[in-house]
Each structure stands twice: as structure tokens, then as C-alpha cells.
Subunit: 150 residues, 2 copies
């Protein structure tokens, strides 16, 4: 019994970064338990997880959550501009809490996805010849390649 309590206490020591506080509401969206945990995982796992990745991780805290709910949560978070959805070719969508304007470099050798930002002071409109009158609502810049090993 003592051993059981000790184990329980030990297991409470966080091996993850300190828990992130998430408010009751973000951008007018009520943070339900499921949405909160989904969002928390995106904050912690910065490696652009898929819906299924999130599902597997979130089950630690909400064992009864369904994959459909994870999809629902991710969708509503995207719709409210709280996270971004990122697509590579026709692979599963990935999700990312980084809202600043950035693209993604997909290292084919390792599978790692790196965020890529513009050089300071440069914006997309500076470099592209857009159709006259174009009003841009969303931009996706995706690069595939490898990182040279020195």
C-alpha cells in the first residue's frame, strides 16, 4: 500500500515541461476539457502532429476521447484562428500553434518539419506578382528537401 502511494506520487512528477495554463476562453471560443487538452498538446509538441498523433497523446489525460472529437476540436481551433492546419502533399493534415507568418521545410530524410520565416522586413507581397486586386486571406509555403550533412 505504501509502495503504491509512493509510485503514484513519483508518477506525478512531470516529465513534460511545466503544465501550460489555458484560459476559459480563447478568441471567443469556450475551452472545453477536450479542446483544452488538444490545444495543450499542440503547445507542448512543436513537431506538427497529425490528428492521430494528438489523439494518441491526449488519451493519457482523457482516456474516453474519440478521434472524431479530436478532429472536431482541431477544426474549431483552426476556424477561430487559434491554431493552423498545415498540409504536405496529400499526407494527413498537421497542426501547429505558431500563428506568425511562416512556412514549413519538410526534411525528407528525417521527416522533421522546420518552421521557416521570412528574412526581416520582407513580406510575400514584396516578392510575388499577384493578379491585380488580389486580396490574400491565407498563405501556405511548403518546401521539401534535405539538410546537407556538413
Amino acid at each position: 500500500m505504501l509502495a503504491y502511494f509512493a509510485a503514484a506520487m513519483v508518477s506525478k512528477i512531470p516529465d513534460q515541461p511545466l503544465e501550460i495554463e489555458i484560459p476559459e476562453e480563447i478568441s471567443g471560443l469556450r475551452m472545453t476539457r477536450q479542446r483544452r487538452e488538444v490545444y495543450r498538446i499542440l503547445q507542448q509538441e512543436r513537431n506538427h502532429p497529425t490528428a492521430n498523433d494528438v489523439f494518441m497523446r491526449v488519451k493519457d489525460r482523457l482516456p474516453n476521447i474519440s478521434l472524431a472529437t479530436v478532429y472536431n476540436c482541431l477544426e474549431v481551433l483552426v476556424q477561430h484562428g487559434i491554431i493552423r492546419q498545415v498540409n504536405f502533399e496529400r499526407e494527413s493534415s498537421r497542426y501547429c500553434p505558431n500563428l506568425s507568418e511562416h512556412g514549413h521545410f519538410h526534411d525528407e530524410a528525417t521527416g522533421v518539419i522546420h518552421d521557416v520565416v521570412f528574412k526581416p522586413g520582407i513580406t510575400l507581397a514584396d516578392v510575388l506578382q499577384l493578379p491585380p486586386g488580389a486580396l490574400i486571406q491565407d498563405v501556405e509555403i511548403t518546401l521539401r528537401g534535405k539538410i546537407a550533412t556538413t
Copy 2:
């Protein structure tokens, strides 16, 4: 009977642009009948058709072609760098014979897809902060928005 022949002759007058000649082989890829017709349609229809769009059009000339074959043809043409595959969000892939470096602006109001090029003299490496050693194999720049109606 005469009327029938006359109608048949009239129907032979091309309403499409003059037929495009396609060589026996492109980039080391043998142009079979199916590949040739698929490629011809991409050359003619510059509106970024989906595999199914191509399938419907190609059936005029090859009534027995299957959708699987259209997918096969498109895939092998992409693999040989003869055409490009373009993805918008999670919609059906679209295909495009324009090989020059360019992005795509998707007008949400009309559904029209415009090719977008860099301003002269500017290349992507000029404007992005890439991870050190990054070797880029492929770039996808996708914009969504509307065209302002003056």
C-alpha cells in the same frame, strides 16, 4: 444518309486549339497512347484540372480508358518532371504542365486558379531564412483569397 455524313464531317472541324504534337518520348518516358492524351489535355486545359476532370475529357478520344490509368499516367508524368501536381488544402490534387517556378492563387469566389510568379530577379532563397544546409527539392506556394471587384 447524306445528312449523316455531312454531320459527321462537320463534327470533325476542331473546336479546340490546333492539335498539339507530342513526341514519342519525353524525358526518357515513353509516350503511350494514354499518356499522350492525358498530357495533351493538360497542355490544352490550363485551368489545373483534377484527375477526374482529365478522365472525363480524355474519354472523348479514348473511350475505354479507366480512371486508374489516368492516375497512373499523371503519376508517372509527375515522377518524370513532365507535369506538376498541385494541392490545395485537402482537395483533390490538380495537375499543371507549367514547369517554371511559380505558385498558385486560388480565388475562392470564382474557384479560378491563377499562376503566380516571382517579381523579376527574385528567388525564394532571397527572402526566406532557411535552416542551415537546407537543400530544396520542391516548393509549393499557395495563396487563397479573392479578387477585389474594383
